[in-house]
């Protein structure tokens, strides 16, 4: 395990260098960026609400509101049952309910935390606004049914963003599946939401540090996927491998359920990506076509790799490819064109395949359901790759004035490197704290027997 952490340290160092390098390369442009009207800044000017006071000229649009209510529900379907089934099918039958429970309860707990303090810390202004918002809207204070955010009721905006905050910690479940202690997990994820998700969310979408760099993250490449992927990797390494990993058969117990889960994720992703436009407008149309073709080309990318390397394209490969493509297009879906989306989905999926097979094997960690390999890696490819594919010659929307491909690429790399380090370091500290106090791994005996009976007192299947 020590060896692994030292290797991980090297990855961290590398991203740190990346960060430093990009800053160096950017020194002149940084000023231009802060003055220029950035796509994202513009985007969020529209959405960041002034708490308690409806912006004077803001008027409610019923079309936008109707779409955002539907989009919010679609994201809920992504998590439960989508993600729960996607993960559940991949574990052994004795741990099926434990994974369903972990996703289900995490989603619920984070939802409550979001309205207690999460929304406020992420989306309001505070004394340390570069890093995190204030507590002015804790317990949703100052918000009423009449409050408007952009063109939709603020309550709708709060709920839509809630689903993101509740889904992201649930994604991490895949990294430590089949060996996590339920109580420890809830404590860890509560602290993780508070110290990793909320600051990064504020820095990217709430008018904090990363948005001031001019980084583009339309629907959550850094906030959701890189964050979840890195946290899952840290926990997978910290907890150690599952008993019998590499020796015993740990084949997925129900691939059809995984396929159903992946398909629900795919469909729900339209709420996630298109909903992030916060309006039913022309950009929403671009995001929609991009989301669909990136997922489809992701499937083709993964099974192409499998077919060539192993001679057989698999259902799990198809499902994994779809998710990889969707993850990659998430930050990019409003700035690339449909052809760019196809390229991004295809390439990200191939790289994620490499990460889940070769990289994972060579580093020897047991990321049970490949959260890092898929969400982390495809997230990085998407967040960085969008800087290239948004160029007009690739069919993208082009760069803002004073911004070049190289400068945008540097900003993207910097935001990715920053997120990896922030999330990696804090997740590791949280792991150490919770592991030493509550404990994060079940006993050997419980792990052998399966978490369904030992943690939850029930079994998924009766014969």
């Amino acid at each position: 395990m020590k060896k692994l952490f030292s290797k991980l340290g090297m990855v961290g160092l590398l991203s740190f260098l990346l960060l430093g390098f990009s800053q160096f390369g950017m020194s002149n442009e940084v000023f231009d960026l802060s003055n220029g009207t950035m796509l994202l800044a513009e985007h969020h000017e529209k959405v960041v609400p002034v708490v308690g006071v409806a912006v004077e000229e803001a008027t409610l649009d019923t079309g936008d509101t109707a779409w955002m209510i539907v989009a919010t529900i679609l994201v809920i379907v992504m998590a439960i049952p989508g993600l729960a089934l996607f993960y559940g099918g991949l574990v052994r039958a004795k741990n099926m309910l434990s994974v369903l429970m972990q996703v289900f309860v995490t989603f619920s707990l984070m939802s409550v935390l979001w309205v207690v303090y999460g929304y406020s810390l992420a989306f309001t202004e505070g004394p340390y606004n570069t890093w995190i918002g204030g507590l002015g809207a804790a317990f949703l204070g100052g918000i009423s049914g009449d409050s408007i955010s952009g063109t939709i009721p603020e309550y709708v905006f709060v709920t839509f963003q809630l689903t993101f905050a509740a889904l992201t910690p649930a994604l991490i479940v895949g990294g430590f599946a089949e060996r996590i202690k339920f109580s420890g997990m809830l404590v860890f994820l509560t602290l993780w939401l508070t110290t990793v998700y909320l600051p990064i969310c504020h820095m990217v979408w709430g008018g904090g540090l990363i948005s001031s760099w001019g980084a583009i993250d339309f629907a959550g490449g850094t906030v959701v996927h890189i964050n979840a992927g890195v946290a899952a990797l840290v926990l997978a390494i910290g907890l150690g491998k599952r008993l019998g990993y590499g020796k015993e058969v740990m084949a997925p117990h129900n691939m059809p359920m995984t396929m159903i889960g992946a398909s629900l994720l795919w469909a729900g992703w339209f709420g996630f990506n298109v909903g992030s436009e916060l309006a039913a407008d022309s950009t929403a149309g671009l995001v929609m076509i991009n989301t669909q073709v990136a997922a489809a080309s992701g499937v083709l990318g993964w099974i192409t790799m499998e077919w060539m390397a192993r001679g057989k394209p698999s259902m799990l490969g198809g499902a994994s490819g779809a998710i990889s493509g969707l993850v990659a297009i998430t930050p990019a879906c409003a700035v690339v064109g449909p052809m760019g989306a196809i390229a991004l989905g295809f390439i990200a999926s191939m790289i994620a395949y490499w990460a889940c097979t070769s990289l994972k094997k060579s580093l020897g960690y047991d990321d049970s359901l490949d959260v890092f390999g898929i969400h982390g890696v495809a997230g990085i490819v998407g967040a960085v790759g969008l800087a290239i594919l948004m160029a007009p010659q690739f069919g993208g929307v082009g760069y803002d004035e004073g911004i070049t491909m190289v400068s945008q690429l540097m900003v993207q790399a910097k935001s990715v490197g920053f997120t990896i380090i922030w999330c990696g370091v804090i997740s590791f500290i949280l792991f150490k704290i919770v592991d030493a106090t509550v404990g994060l791994r079940v006993s050997e005996e419980d792990e052998r027997a399966g978490l369904d009976t030992t943690s939850h007192g029930e079994t998924a299947y009766h014969s």
Binding site: V249, M250, A251, R310, K312, C356, T357, S358, D370, G373
Partner: protein, 112 residues
């Protein structure tokens, strides 16, 4: 009396049952089993994980027959279960000391 146990490919079960009925066998017991012989198993790949599945699904059938039927039974199973490919299975023949029908108390050949 003989006790014949045969391990065959699952999809051949119906043909074997028909062949045995034709030569006058009155009853068969069937069990779904797993095992391996020369056919060996196969590998399954799940993303980075590769698993060797040693044990393949087979059907085991058991028949108790009179001595004079023994050769016919073995021949019928051999013919009907044959595909000519590896993994067709095996037939084991053992001596059978006693048989008793529970309902009537008949023993020996009468109980078959």
């Amino acid at each position: 009396m003989k006790f014949v146990t045969a391990v065959i490919k699952p999809f051949k079960l119906d043909e074997v049952r028909e062949a045995l009925s034709e030569i006058g066998v009155q009853g068969i017991t069937v069990t779904e089993v797993k095992g391996f012989g020369r056919q060996k198993g196969h590998t399954e790949l799940y993303r980075g994980a590769e698993y060797v599945i040693d044990f393949l699904p087979k059907v085991k059938l058991e028949v108790a027959v009179s001595d004079k039927l023994e050769k016919k039974v073995v021949e019928a199973i051999t013919k009907s279960a044959l595909t000519g490919k590896i993994g067709d299975g095996k037939i084991f023949v053992m001596d059978l000391d006693q048989v008793q029908r529970i309902r009537t108390g008949e023993t020996g050949d009468d109980a078959l």
